[in-house]
Amino acid sequence: MTTTSASRREITFVVNGQPETVRVYPMERLLDVLRQNLKLTGTKEGCGEGECGACSVFIDGVLALSCLIPVAQAEGATITTIEGVVADPRFRALPEAFLEGGAAQCGICTPGMIMAAVHLLEKNPQPAMNEIREGLAGNLCRCTGYLQIMEAVAESARRSASA
């Protein structure tokens, strides 16, 4: 199968449980297709260079950067965005802990932080502080200084343990 970037073609994948077909150029960034074609604007663009993690999504269960994924590479994949995560009752404690703990200021990094935290807590439901640091290593925040964010993830883990 060969296509040229000068022509659009149909690409199908599942986003937040919903089958979607978009007509796009194969090397458009998955980030742009999610935001512009599917109007899922919860996923943010921070740097657009793979440094900041604001555009993190799950692709086939794997945490990845949608600004570095050509949409053609996501063909046939199952994608979960921040919209899918916050709608999932299993992860309710996390956005709540972020809100209550002042872990969001401007809010651009918050969706990506929550995605990275979900990924971490799925693998390791009771992480130590250094494991939280490592799990969020790919996500930059220019407002909070990170302490509130790490504390929110720890708090969410504590609440899940006592729930």
């Binding site: 199968m1 060969t2 296509t3 040229t4 970037s5 000068a6 194969p26 090397m27 960034r29 657009g48 260079e49 793979g50 993690g53 993190s56 794997v62 945490l63 990845a64 950067l65 570095l68 994924i69 050509p70 053609a72 590479q73 063909e75 990275a116 990924h119 640091r133 490592e134 799990g135 290593a137 790919g138 996500n139």
Partner: protein
């Protein structure tokens, strides 16, 4: 971006056919390539995705044959492989330290070995050697992250792969694949220092790809140490991989390979010599570090890297010398 073709063949054999003609580039995880295309540093006419080439996936280990790593194995898969941790600790440590969780999930072993230098002259369109009027801009320019060894010119960039030094410390080979067949070469020979702007920093022939990495059996102890500005998710300033073959408490033979210090992964026979026949301790490790940078020739702004490389070697030796350190 310029217009180009996109192809997603179902096997590596089909992929190399598509790479055989035209200005084609191979797309693995895409983390490096997409950046280069956005910045117009790379302008391929055709992209060939290896996503569906199942034969390039998988990690297998056997005590007799060692470790075989498919080029499309992700850094995360390698970092999580128990046999890699048990028998090739330096390799597993390099994989688990690379970039961020998000990038490790997508970035591949082949892509890590074949990523292009991070040199900011190169990334900003000055070319790999940053030549202007017959001279490189780098020796008297912004060279704080550039080479301290193997830098007699005209190449001053540093080889960016953090897996390569660790794999070379185990004498890994790579199997290369092209439309005309396959060949095996030592991984160390994949890297060459370019002498002109038209040279590549890889010995790959046009249309040739890395298909798999083959690491021979190892019974020794090893470690990888990175010096970075930030604790997490940062390009290292200097790295060292050390693999030891022991005879009781004495080093029978050692491999010491440094990263981020030269245009190629830099093996240090001087440091290896300083370790042979010794018992690992603070003095011996210190001497190995000193020997490793004995011949360093820093540029105008990167003398600090000599110290960092020395310390990286010293600490990698100490880690490798203690078998049970986590």
């Amino acid at each position: 971006m310029e217009a180009f073709e996109y192809a997603r063949p179902a096997s590596s054999r089909e992929a190399v056919k598509m790479l055989a003609s035209g200005n084609a580039e191979v797309l693995a995880g895409g983390s490096d390539l997409l950046q280069r295309m956005k910045d117009s540093v790379s302008t391929p006419g055709r992209l060939v995705s290896l996503r569906d080439a199942r034969d390039l996936r998988g990690i297998e280990y056997s005590p007799a044959k060692g470790l075989r790593i498919g080029a499309m194995v992700t850094l995360e898969e390698l970092a999580a492989q128990p046999d890699a941790h048990r028998h090739y600790r330096a390799v597993a440590q390099a994989a688990e330290k690379a970039a961020s969780p998000q990038i490790r999930h997508v970035g591949t072993v082949g892509g890590n070995l074949c990523q292009r230098p991070r040199c900011w002259y190169y990334r900003n369109g000055f070319g790999l050697l940053a030549m202007q009027d017959g001279n490189s801009l780098i020796p008297n320019g912004e060279n704080q992250y550039h080479a301290i060894l193997g830098n007699s010119g005209p190449a001053y960039f540093v080889s960016p792969s953090n897996l390569a030094p660790a794999l070379i410390a185990f004498d890994a080979k790579v199997r290369l694949l092209s439309a005309s067949g396959s060949r095996e070469i030592p991984l160390a020979d994949l890297y060459v220092t370019p002498h002109s702007e038209s040279d590549s920093e890889f010995s790959l022939k046009p249309g040739e790809i890395v298909a798999e990495v083959l690491v021979p059996p190892s019974e020794g102890s090893s470690a990888f140490y990175e010096v970075r500005q930030k604790a997490n998710f940062d390009w290292p300033l200097a790295t060292a991989a050390v693999a030891l073959r022991m005879n009781g408490h004495t080093v029978k033979s050692a491999r010491v390979v440094m990263g981020q210090v030269a245009p190629v992964p830099w093996r240090s026979p001087e440091a290896e010599q300083a370790l042979a026949g010794k018992t690992i301790g603070a003095d011996v490790a210190d001497n190995a570090g000193k020997a490793a940078v004995e011949k360093a020739t820093p540029l105008s702004r990167n003398a600090y890297k000599v110290t960092l490389a020395r310390v990286a070697v010293k600490r990698a030796v100490l880690r490798a010398g203690v078998m049970e350190v986590a």
